[in-house]
Symmetry: C2
Subunit: 320 residues, 2 copies
Amino acid sequence: MRGLWLENNQINLRDDLAIPSNFDEALIKVRLAGICGTDLEMVKGYYPFTGVPGHEFVGEVVAVPAGASQGWVGRRVVGEINAVCGSCEQCRDGRPTHCEQRSVLGILNRGGVFAEYVSLPLENLQLVPEAVSDDAAVFAEPLAAALEIQQQVQIRPNDRVLVIGAGRLGQLIAQSLALTGCGLGVVARHEAQQHLLASRGIRILAEAEVQTWRWDVVVEATGAISGLALAKRALRPRGTLVLKSTYKGEVSLNLSPFVVDEVTVVGSRCGPFAPALRLLELGLVDTRPLISARFELKDGLAAFAEAARLGMMKVLVQCS
Amino acid sequence: MRGLWLENNQINLRDDLAIPSNFDEALIKVRLAGICGTDLEMVKGYYPFTGVPGHEFVGEVVAVPAGASQGWVGRRVVGEINAVCGSCEQCRDGRPTHCEQRSVLGILNRGGVFAEYVSLPLENLQLVPEAVSDDAAVFAEPLAAALEIQQQVQIRPNDRVLVIGAGRLGQLIAQSLALTGCGLGVVARHEAQQHLLASRGIRILAEAEVQTWRWDVVVEATGAISGLALAKRALRPRGTLVLKSTYKGEVSLNLSPFVVDEVTVVGSRCGPFAPALRLLELGLVDTRPLISARFELKDGLAAFAEAARLGMMKVLVQCS
């Protein structure tokens, strides 16, 4: 089959890839896949990975494991990206996304979605409601990641919530947090980002406008150390700082203010798909303006180049 | 009056200090004061402070502001160390220990307790129950700090809780956490520390015995970066790491595992006095074995030297 292949930090288009043949998993024909910041960082070599990258997708089930309901075949699905063992302590204790033996779609020990076909355990799949277009469904995974914030931290309607960073993920975070009725502000550097937020009526702040010791909850979504410093400064004592991005390598940090101000810091990663699909079905999150460009799989390398340009939002790849 | 005086990282005994004369505060004759890790660090110059150091004390009220009840006079008291404005945003929002204009007893813009007399706002004082000896009451402040952990984080009886560090504060943390019935383990390096824990039936672990990804809650109470690394390793995904010490200067840290494992980090500082006094009154926390040495105020410098010796627990100074 055709697909993108990442090896030694080189990404190539290949036509000789084997169709996944895990007989205990569902085989899915990928319809549409999205390029995420993690994909771009993998290409830059920040994570070691060999194989087909990509983990945001919507596809159609073409085969199921023996004994499974044939009702799945032909259905549109999205998929939870962590494939888990079910028997380690994390799985048994109800934290499957933290499975100690997990593989992660297009990220860790498992081929991803920038290809014609992908396989995933049937239990990872979620049917896409009729009313959710492919263009919307392909955002289910990053929207789930945005919703993980509210899965972890209670956002009270009366809270002042600051989001720092308004890129691909930051936009979905801002849209989902706005639904809580909280006092939301977003620090967005680029004009295109500001425009998208303004069109949703979301308040935009310049960095210089961010008050010190003021915000109940701050979400850091830039992945830059300057964003983290701004977040700490903005947060009120005993407030909650959500880390929604990873930081490259070692970071130099004065931890004393975190202790003195009794701050809570919460790391946040993958989230729940079902509520993401519900919000998309209800039309409460609008993904259309977040699509910057669209490429065929044969032009996948150009898609990656385009996605890496500053200020780009979501670049989609039509895989079949 | 007599007292210790800290200036330019030099600590001296002086007999010419003015008795505090804040007419809107209570004047307290200090009976007993305790030397804390923070005091030792101030002498080393880690915090800039000029004045009488010390914030752990039990004393007797000798004068109250005009108009206040004379019933206070002659009573034994301990005192909340943060003196607050009552009108800033933090005070108004119910976080008085985070008052933006606060002074802190013997730490920030306010003379402390290694002297014959000290003054504090009346609202900071807590009466000491009859059954609580001076030797116990002097631990009210650090025990309150230990209890701040449970004020911030729900410790479930079924939780596995690891405390790293078993010094002055670590011992009080361990004793108070043991009362929850949780599965408690303490990493204690020094034999004297281990002995104290063993006498309370508290489980001691060597660093090498600490399992990876295992503990629901980990309390870091060493203030050393090696303790922080051990804490992160021990913590299960989505677990809670309580930072109960500050770290000197900038710390180099890889934050990505905190995000990937969705860890919650909680900074923890000053705590509630009333429950500390209740536990002391009920005899549920035993402070007697934690007293390493006792000095007269005239020998205060020797007291500080003794407290700085490795493995020393609480050194007390009899101030009047």
